[in-house]
C-alpha cells in the first residue's frame, strides 16, 4: 500500500516538475502584467492584444508557411531518398543510410554554422533560399527515418507484382509502393512540421534579416529575462501549448480506435 502511494507520488512529482513551468505560463497569460509573477487580476486582455497585434500575426503566418514549405519539400526528398536507399544494392545502401542519418546526431549549432558558411560562399546567405534549405536539412533525415521501416515491412514482391501486371515503374511506385508506406510518409511530414515550427538555431543562422519566425521573435522579445516587451507572447505560448496537447490527444485517440477496429 505504502509502495503504491509512493510510486503514485513519484509520478505526480515528476509530472509537476515537467509541467509546472508551462502551467505557470498558462496561468499568467490570463493577467495583464508586463512581468511574469505579478498578478494584476484576471483578464483576457493579452489574448485580445495577441489577435490585434499585426506583427505577431504576420510572424505566425511566416512560421506556418515556412514549416509547410519545408515539410512538403523534405517529405518529397526524404521519401524519394528512402525508396532509393531501400532498392539500392546492399553495398551501397548501408553507407547511404548511415550518411543520411548523421545530421540527426550532429549538433544543430554545427549544422547551422556550416549552413551559414556554405551560403555565404555562394552568396545566398540570409535569403529565403538559405532558410528553406536549412529547414530541409533539418527535417529530411527524419522523413527517411520514418519511411524506411514501412518499406521494410512491405512484401518485397508487391512492387514486382505490379510490374508483372503491366504497370510501368512509376505507376507501380505511385499505385502500390506509396500507398503502403503512406503512414510513414505522413508521420515524417508531421515530424518535419514540428521540427521546423519550433526550430531556433538553424533559423537564426539562415533567415533573412527582416524575416522572423515565432522562435526568433520570442527569443528577441524576451532576451532581457521575464520583463517582456510584448506580454501578448504569453498568450501565444499558452495557445501553442494547448493546440499541441489537442493534436497529441487527437492522434492518440485515433490510434486507439484503429487498434480496436483491427481486432
Amino acid at each position: 500500500m505504502v509502495k503504491k502511494i509512493l510510486s503514485v507520488a513519484l509520478c505526480v512529482a515528476v509530472l509537476v516538475f515537467i509541467y509546472s513551468p508551462i502551467l505557470l505560463l498558462v496561468v499568467y497569460s490570463f493577467t495583464d502584467a508586463n512581468v511574469i509573477g505579478k498578478w494584476e487580476g484576471f483578464s483576457f486582455k493579452l489574448y485580445a492584444d495577441l489577435f490585434q497585434n499585426r506583427e505577431i500575426m504576420r510572424i505566425l503566418l511566416n512560421t506556418v508557411v515556412l514549416a509547410l514549405v519545408a515539410a512538403v519539400l523534405s517529405t518529397v526528398i526524404g521519401t524519394a531518398g528512402a525508396i532509393g536507399i531501400f532498392y539500392s544494392k546492399k553495398k551501397v545502401a548501408a553507407p547511404l543510410k548511415g550518411i543520411s542519418q548523421i545530421p540527426i546526431i550532429n549538433a544543430e549549432i554545427v549544422t547551422a554554422i556550416s549552413l551559414a558558411l556554405l551560403f555565404s560562399f555562394i552568396s545566398l546567405y540570409r535569403t529565403y533560399f538559405s532558410l528553406i534549405v536549412g529547414h530541409m536539412v533539418l527535417c529530411t533525415p527524419f522523413v527517411v527515418l520514418s519511411v524506411m521501416p514501412k518499406l521494410k515491412q512491405m512484401d518485397p514482391n508487391v512492387y514486382e507484382a505490379a510490374l508483372d501486371l503491366g504497370a510501368s515503374p512509376s505507376t507501380a511506385l505511385f499505385k502500390v509502393v506509396i500507398p503502403q508506406i503512406f503512414s510513414g510518409i505522413v508521420s515524417g511530414f508531421m515530424l518535419s512540421i514540428t521540427l521546423s515550427l519550433d526550430d531556433y538555431i538553424v533559423t537564426a543562422f539562415t533567415k533573412p534579416r527582416t524575416f522572423d519566425t515565432i522562435s526568433t521573435y520570442v527569443y528577441n522579445a524576451v532576451k532581457n529575462g521575464t520583463n517582456s516587451s510584448t506580454p501578448a507572447l504569453r498568450a501565444l505560448s499558452a495557445l501553442i501549448f494547448i493546440v499541441m496537447i489537442a493534436a497529441v490527444l487527437a492522434v492518440n485517440l485515433r490510434a486507439g480506435k484503429k487498434k480496436e477496429g483491427a481486432k
Binding site: 512484401d155 514482391n157 508487391v158 514486382e160 507484382a161 505490379a162 510490374l163 508483372d164 501486371l165 503491366g166 504497370a167 510501368s168 515503374p169 505507376t171 507501380a172 499505385k175 502500390v176 500507398p179 503502403q180
Partner: protein, 513 residues
C-alpha cells in the same frame, strides 16, 4: 547431359517452342545462381523446375519474368529476343510464393489491377469509310466481366468487396492466381505457389491448378522443391542442382530413368549402390551379379538405383540377396522394411510386413535395376586408421597424414593425435572415408612396392592417357587411375599412393580417450 533431345522425346505435345533459354547464366556478386543453362518450353505445356533450395530454379523463373536480367545468354519468347525487355512489357504473369497481393486494395481492385492498365487496339470506321485503330483502355463493363470470370475460375465468386486481410492463405493464393490469369497471359509463372499452405489445402490446390491448366490452355511454368508435387502436376520436369540442369523429362522418365545419382535420390525413395559392369547387361553390386536392361562398357564403374518398391521379399535362401531385417516402419499404404544384406542396407517397400530380426531373401528383377553413368572424378573408399596411424582401405594399407582429420592437430611421439585444443586422441580403428584422385595413383611391377596389389582388369585409351582399373583379389576393390604408360590386361601390379595425396575425412567423431 540429357537436355533438349530428351525433352523433345518426352514432351507430350509437339507444339512450337514458346520460351527458349539459350546459354543463360546469372551471377549475383560472387555466387553463380544459374550456370549456362539451355532449355525450351513448349506452348501449352505444364513444366516444372524442381530442385533443392539454392539450385537456381527461382532465378531461372525470375529471368523469364524479367525481374532478373541474365548475366550472359539469351531468353527468347516465340523466337523473339526478350532478354532485356522489362517485366511490364512481357505477356507473362507471375503468381508469387507469398501471394504479393496489394493490401490497400480490395479483391476486385487487386484482380482488376492489370486490366485497368491494359490498352487494346480498337478499330473504328470514320465518316469517310476509312478504318483506323486506336489504343484504348478497357471499359468498366469489360473489366467487371473479366474480373467476375477470373474469380469464378478460382471459386471466389462474390468476394469482390472483401479486403485482402480477411482472407485465409488459400483464398489469398486464389486471388493471386485470378489476378494473374485475368490478363490472359501467354505464360503463367508460379513460384512455389503452394509452399505456404498446409498439406491438405496443397493437395486440393494441386488438382485445381492442373484442372485450370487444362481449361485455360496456356503454358504453366511452375517452380517447386516438392518432388511429389512435380510428379503429380507436370508434363515435363526440369531437375536442377547448383544452377545446372540435371535432367529434363516426363515425370515417368525422371522417376524410372534418373540421369544420375542426384536425380535418383531427389525424386522418390531409392537404394543407391556402387556397381561395376561385369558383362553384357550384367552388373555387380552387393557382392552379386545381377541381370539388367542397361548396357555400359565392361568394367565401368556405375551407380545402380533400385526403387524400394521394386524389391521383392522371398524366403531366406531363395533370394538373390540374403539379409536380416533391422527395422520395420508402417507408412499407411505400405511397410518400409530395412534389411541389412552384408555390409549394405537395403530399403524395401511392401504391403507385407516382416519382423525385426527375421532373415529374409531379396529378389530384384532386371527391370527394377536402373544403371547410371557414374560422374566420379576420384576413387572413394571406406577405410579405417590402423595402430600405426596408417590407413587401411582397398585391401591394402597406406601411409597417410592423419593430422588432416583435425585441423591444426599434431602427432606426439607415442602416436596420439593432439588436437588444436590440446585434446589427446587415439585414432586406432577410426572409420574414415578415403579419396584418391585418378592421377595420384601409380602402379608398379614390383608387387611389394605399393600398399595394395591386384590385376589390371581394364585399360581404356582416353585420347592422351590410359584409364586403368586395378582390381584386388580378396574383396574385388578397384583402383581407377590415369597413366601415360601402356600396360597389359591381367598384369599383376602393386598400387602406390603418395601419403600427401590420400585425402581422409571422418565418418563420425573419433571416440575420445
Amino acid at each position: 547431359m540429357a537436355e533438349n533431345k530428351n525433352d523433345a522425346m518426352n514432351s507430350p505435345s509437339k507444339a512450337e517452342k514458346i520460351i527458349e533459354i539459350v546459354g543463360a547464366s546469372k551471377i549475383f556478386d560472387d555466387t553463380v545462381a544459374v550456370d549456362n543453362i539451355d532449355l525450351y518450353v513448349r506452348k501449352g505445356e505444364f513444366i516444372t523446375f524442381l530442385g533443392p533450395s539454392g539450385c537456381g530454379k527461382t532465378t531461372t523463373l525470375r529471368m523469364i519474368a524479367g525481374f532478373d536480367i541474365p548475366t550472359s545468354g539469351k531468353i527468347l519468347l516465340g523466337g523473339k529476343d526478350i532478354t532485356n525487355l522489362p517485366p511490364n512489357k512481357r505477356p507473362i504473369n507471375t503468381v508469387f510464393q507469398r501471394y504479393a497481393l496489394f493490401p490497400h486494395y480490395n479483391i476486385y481492385d487487386n484482380v482488376a489491377f492489370g486490366l485497368k492498365l491494359k490498352k487494346i487496339p480498337v478499330t473504328y470506321v470514320n465518316a469517310k469509310g476509312e478504318t483506323y485503330t486506336k489504343m484504348q483502355k478497357l471499359t468498366r463493363r469489360e473489366i467487371d466481366e473479366k474480373v467476375k470470370n477470373a474469380l469464378a475460375v478460382v471459386d471466389l465468386e462474390g468476394f469482390e468487396k472483401r479486403s485482402v486481410s480477411t482472407l485465409s492463405g488459400g483464398q489469398q493464393q486464389r486471388v493471386a492466381i485470378a489476378r494473374a490469369i485475368v490478363n490472359e497471359p501467354e505464360i503463367l509463372l508460379l513460384d512455389e505457389p503452394l509452399g505456404a499452405l498446409d498439406l491438405k489445402m496443397r493437395k486440393e490446390m494441386q488438382i485445381e491448378l492442373k484442372a485450370m491448366h487444362k481449361k485455360l490452355g496456356i503454358t504453366f511454368i511452375y517452380v517447386t522443391h516438392d518432388q511429389e508435387e512435380a510428379l503429380t502436376m507436370s508434363d515435363t520436369i526440369v531437375v536442377m542442382k547448383d544452377g545446372q540442369i540435371q535432367q529434363i523429362g516426363t515425370p515417368t522418365a525422371i522417376y524410372n530413368e534418373p540421369a544420375n545419382a542426384f536425380v535418383a535420390n531427389f525424386i522418390g525413395d531409392s537404394n543407391l549402390f556402387n556397381g561395376t559392369m561385369v558383362g553384357k547387361m550384367s552388373v555387380r553390386f552387393c557382392n552379386r551379379n545381377f541381370k539388367c536392361l542397361d548396357d555400359f562398357a565392361l568394367h565401368e564403374k556405375v551407380d545402380v538405383v533400385v526403387r524400394p518398391e521394386d524389391i521383392r521379399m522371398t524366403d531366406a535362401d531363395k533370394g538373390m540377396l540374403k539379409g536380416e531385417v533391422i527395422s520395420v516402419v508402417f507408412k499407411g499404404v505400405h511397410y518400409e522394411i530395412t534389411v541389412k544384406a552384408g555390409k549394405t542396407e537395403v530399403v524395401v517397400q511392401s504391403t507385407e510386413s516382416r519382423n525385426v530380426g527375421d532373415v529374409i531373401g531379396l529378389d530384384i528383377l532386371p527391370d527394377g535395376i536402373h544403371i547410371m553413368k557414374k560422374e566420379f572424378t576420384v576413387n572413394r573408399y571406406d577405410g579405417y586408421i590402423t595402430k600405426r596411424n596408417t590407413v587401411a582401405f582397398g585391401d591394402g594399407e597406406f601411409e597417410c597424414d592423419v593430422t588432416q582429420l583435425y585441423p591444426g592437430s599434431l602427432l606426439d611421439e607415442e602416436g596420439y593425435l593432439v588436437t588444436a585444443d590440446g585434446e589427446k586422441l587415439d585414432l586406432t580403428d577410426t572409420d574414415v572415408t578415403v579419396e584418391v584422385g585418378f592421377t595420384d595413383i601409380e602402379i608398379s611391377d614390383d608387387a611389394d612396392a605399393g600398399g595394395a596389389r591386384g590385376h589390371i582388369v581394364s585399360i581404356i585409351y582416353k585420347g592422351d592417357h590410359y584409364q586403368v582399373i586395378v582390381r584386388t583379389e580378396e574383396n574385388e576393390e578397384d583402383f581407377v587411375l590415369d597413366t601415360e604408360d601402356l600396360w597389359n590386361e591381367n598384369d599383376f601390379v602393386s598400387v602406390k599412393i603418395p601419403p600427401e595425396k590420400i585425402r581422409l575425412s571422418l565418418k563420425q567423431e573419433a571416440k575420445q580417450k
